[in-house]
Symmetry: C2
């Protein structure tokens, strides 16, 4: 593990006092923040560097020169407000807030930990003004801030940073129109125009054209500048501030990965064969060291030229992450491979993606069937309705995105498609609670409930690669209904064994561990792992827990259920989903309507409250969903004392 | 009741054969379709005339001159495809399809009936290509049609009509960008630019600017024409068809209400004191007769000038609608009045609307507190995130729209706000199954399930005006959580009496009719009326049904529940919501977890399958949710035989 260091706040204070030239000083601060952001992401093991780096000069300028926020204080009613609509660039913002003394060094280095900073902005963190991370909401929120200030007679302008890929989200245009109409003229929208979205050029993913023309056609003033040149930023913001007749937008041309040569577009895109590697995820040790040294060398070179001492950095204690196991199995890989295999035999299959092709394991399909692969950009609603049109014309669309975005943002479009009685397969990637580092914007613990009340949907989730193949094949080839395939995005914590001869039978799961004291229903690799851990712990207490893999999340075969519940005096469900609207509710209803609950205890262990962020073990523990907590609840739970 | 007549298809055939001048013929056909659309809406008792009339010349031109659809047949794979993205103008399209012999006269006149045509387009109707009615999805669907045709090697272009108010929906811009990028160049987007949305000018509701500049900045070719001048339409479409390098948009300037002088903007807007009266709803007898006669007089004048016989119209049998009762009570009125009363004492209350101010009973607030009223246009996502910003700055936003749009389209934004732990009151108007005439796009039978898994939400629904006041006051002044107020939009079918001294107690409802054989939980004026009907029917069978008004849809007080269930051997819930994710699921879970189900039967009567359209009685009957069906199920239901 590479040594990780932090540049302490004192060093930023030293620069403030000793470097006279404003722009020189800003450049040094931004670069030192780059070093700290890089260190925090490396320590966390994940995070978004590319856009933290492209936006860092802008955000530095705003906090240090443009806004009154630091002077007035982060809670002052008249303060200027800054936040990033894209949100994933928050490691850069954390570094700046640390440089200003708002965030402690300890907190800065506890990125994506339960007692540290979230992977996307959360208002619980000092200096963070809004929760973002799902794209396109920023200008709308800024409108709310501005209107509230107006009604309350408070001062302060609103600065909201957006991405350029983010401009594919429709909500952006809703908010551009309404802000212009409502004369919300103290908003400064700044586009971090770094030209690269998740891993491809914006211009490759969607129509770009002239951003100036596009934004100004919505009734906004538009300026443009070099987002890495503080003089250019200064002048452009001054021009924008001078025009108060409309809301103002600054298109800041930036470079994704700015500040670390091999992370910079366009070089990095060339090196990655057209794919940008540094959007998210932590660099390996070698890349980290090379990048860190490059930044520090540059900083020290400038300091030396100014006759100043080199920057001082303090070592940070290494991470001590506990993990309850990890394998090399990815259910999403099995899905992606099966999709390609089935598509070789079926010409009607067409795959849609919203700029998450790599995460959704669609590159194989994209490569083999480019004509049938629709890269739709970050526009989930458009993607889903496009699938609706395709389905009406006889195609079988397979629609992909993260569950948090697909089931929620495109919910009405999914319902509308269902009203047309066509057939579509929706694949909800990154479902559930884990990985928890990115926080609530990305954790999906409501998706089952968002679909379950829509008629004609089967919702499934595989527990391992074998079942992922079986269920993908079922959804594509066998089902006559709309299907939702719920997939975790990370590796399986263990490789679960299914009974030999196991196959897809609607509404019927599989007993993974037998036992007659109580039965626990679970689904997916993460929760079944914890369920099996609980079973193992309970076994040592002579409590025999039956663990059932139930991949059908909204369909339960009644006879099978009666059989599998058997003589157990207690029935439990555990889910990486809210306790409402998931498998637990379905079980309760089916058990209640079939009078199977007489004399039995029943309880659902789900994600209560908002999902916590952090590493898997601490988050599962926080929600009482780790094996040990489950075992305790089952053994000692007050609700279920009769079962013992 | 005014006499209603239909111009039969033979009359259209006569014109086709006897009028040589194309444009003269088109004008006559369009006007005769106006007469038939007006008659169908009058017979239905509701429907959208203003935009049926503004778009009718365009749609007439498309079907009669531009498209190959009629020639090839409505199911031909190479056919051109037309549909309206806004959808509510479908009475006009039905009239055209009837004039072409695609729809029978009988079907045309059974608008908004269960065995007739839906109030918004449904693909079950011949000639209808897509389900629309919720705005903004059209271009996306057109993309899907086009890509499918391309992949299948089929011919045919796609014509999609949009509104101008509809251009406030963000999905429009998602689809403009992706269509341009994906070179979907055989789409013709036609904007029915009639300048008026629900009841106000588009330019009063949102930023308008230059539509040409706006659309072309997204990479589209744009033409403009007079949408009531067939020559102008012809030329503009020819210009658009000549450019195949980009997708094409035609801005057709039209007049809302075109063809009936007193329905035409701008005259009608002046007469309505700035409010347009003819967007939806049927005209009264006098207006109907005047409008109908004006159209027919014009048609006959033209026919006479051509030396042709006047148009022949056949009388239509009057409607025979059964209704299970109606009062003058509107829960939404009580909400709107209470909102104003509370806002007089609380300056932090701010109200947001998405162009449904009259329906949502917000005009009183708008008038008294114009500064605190935000008309946000048809942009639900933007509205909800704006509320998020307002709440973070200490305001209490009250967010209004129809439940089908608010809970679904803005679902991710609602969740994002919840993640910020602020407090917002969402008002889901037009919730439930009834009125069913507008069809699935407007019926909201999933909204509870769409919210229930979001932490920190209380969902309530009042059963009468008194309770509407109590719960509105509770949500505004007492609750510390986010609240959803679920309201029906129509009049209460009966005025329900609540026990004296009734007040808001979280999780506790009220017994409306006592009885010890079974207990039935219900909520809202519509379903409680049916529940009480069932109770009355059962009483005559000596079966005593306890009917409980349960306004807390996701919170149940455990002791109260135990008390109210008492010795009843069967527990039922009835809801104008899907059986998943509503009160029934909540009851099942709470009863199961508290071991209250031993020896009791349990069943949930909800809206199974997609909601049907029609008049209330036939739709309730269709879903088995009318009092008589409920009584039968409770008395004879196989699941519950043990209860008798």
């Amino acid at each position: 593990m590479a040594e990780i260091k932090i540049i302490p706040v004192e060093e930023f204070r030293r620069l403030q006092e000793s470097v006279d030239d404003k722009h020189e000083r800003l450049g040094l601060i931004a670069d030192m923040c780059r070093a700290n952001a890089l260190a925090s992401v490396k320590r966390a093991g994940s995070g978004h560097l590319g856009s933290s780096f492209s936006s860092l000069d802008i955000v530095t300028y705003l906090y240090y020169c443009e806004m009154n926020t630091v002077k007035l204080g982060m809670d002052h009613p008249d303060r200027d407000i800054y936040f990033s609509s894209k949100g994933h660039d928050v490691p850069g913002q954390y570094a700046i807030l640390h440089s200003l003394g708002v965030l402690s060094g300890d907190k800065l280095m506890r990125l994506r930990r339960i007692d540290g900073n979230c992977g996307h902005p959360d208002i619980g963190t000092p200096g963070i003004e809004a929760n973002t991370g799902s794209l396109g909401m920023g200008i709308s929120k800024a409108k709310g801030f501005s209107i509230a200030k107006r009604l309350q007679g408070r001062g302060g302008d609103i600065y909201v940073l957006t991405g350029d890929g983010e401009l594919q989200e429709g909500q952006i245009y809703e908010s551009l129109l309404s802000a212009a109409h409502q004369n919300i003229n103290n908003i400064r929208m700044i586009i971090d125009h770094n030209k690269v979205q998740t891993d491809k050029l914006v211009s490759e993913i969607s129509y770009l054209g002239s951003l100036e023309e596009r934004i100004s056609s919505f009734g906004w003033n538009v300026e443009r500048c070099d987002g890495h040149d503080f003089k250019s930023l200064e002048k452009a913001l001054a021009r924008l501030n001078a025009s108060t007749d409309k809301p103002g937008c600054l298109i800041a041309d930036t470079i994704k990965g700015r500040g670390v040569s091999f992370m910079e577009h366009p070089q990095s895109l060339k090196e990655g064969d057209g794919l940008y590697r540094w959007h998210s995820g932590a660099p390996d040790d070698e890349s980290f060291s090379a990048g860190y040294e490059e930044i520090v060398r540059r900083v020290n070179g400038r300091l030396a030229a100014l006759g100043l001492e080199p920057v001082r950095a303090l070592p940070v204690e290494p991470e001590n992450k506990s993990s309850s196991g990890v394998t090399r199995e990815y259910v999403a890989n099995a899905f992606g491979e099966t999709l390609v295999e089935v598509a070789r035999k079926r010409e009607d299959i067409v795959v849609l993606d919203a700029d998450l092709a790599a995460d959704c394991r669609l590159r194989g399909f994209e490569k083999e069937f480019p004509q049938r692969f629709i890269e739709n950009g970050i526009a989930e609603q458009d993607m889903v309705s496009t699938a609706g049109g395709l389905a009406l014309q006889g195609m079988l669309p397979v629609v992909n995105s993260f569950a948090a975005f697909l089931a929620s943002r495109a919910n009405e479009q999914i319902y509308n498609n269902a009203c047309e009685r066509s057939r579509i397969v929706y694949v909800c990637h990154y479902s559930g609670l884990i990985p928890a580092g990115p926080g609530q914007s990305h954790q999906s613990v409501r998706d089952i409930s968002l679909i379950a009340a829509t008629p004609g949907f089967v919702v499934v989730q595989p527990c391992n690669a074998v079942e992922a193949r079986i269920l993908t094949e079922y959804c594509l080839n066998q089902s006559k209904e709309n299907c939702v395939i719920r997939l975790i995005i990370g590796p399986s914590p263990r490789e679960i064994s299914l009974p030999s001869g196991y196959r897809a039978e609607l509404g019927k799961g599989a007993v993974l561990a037998d036992g007659g004291d109580a039965v626990l229903f679970a689904y997916g690799p993460v929760m079944l792992h914890e369920a099996l851990l609980a079973q193992e712990i309970l076994e040592s207490e002579s409590f025999r827990l039956r663990v059932v893999n139930m991949p059908w999340l909204n369909r339960i075969d009644n006879e099978w259920l009666r059989d599998v519940v058997g003589d157990c005096s207690a029935v439990y469900a555990v889910e990486d989903h809210a306790p409402q609207g998931g498998l637990g509710d379905r079980l309760a209803r089916d058990l209640a309507e079939s009078s199977m609950l007489a004399g039995r205890n029943f309880d659902v262990f789900g994600v209560e409250g908002l999902p916590a962020w952090g590493v898997p073990a601490e988050v599962l523990r926080h929600h009482g969903l780790d094996g040990e907590s489950l075992a305790k609840k089952i053994l000692n739970g007050p609700k279920n004392s009769a079962a013992l």
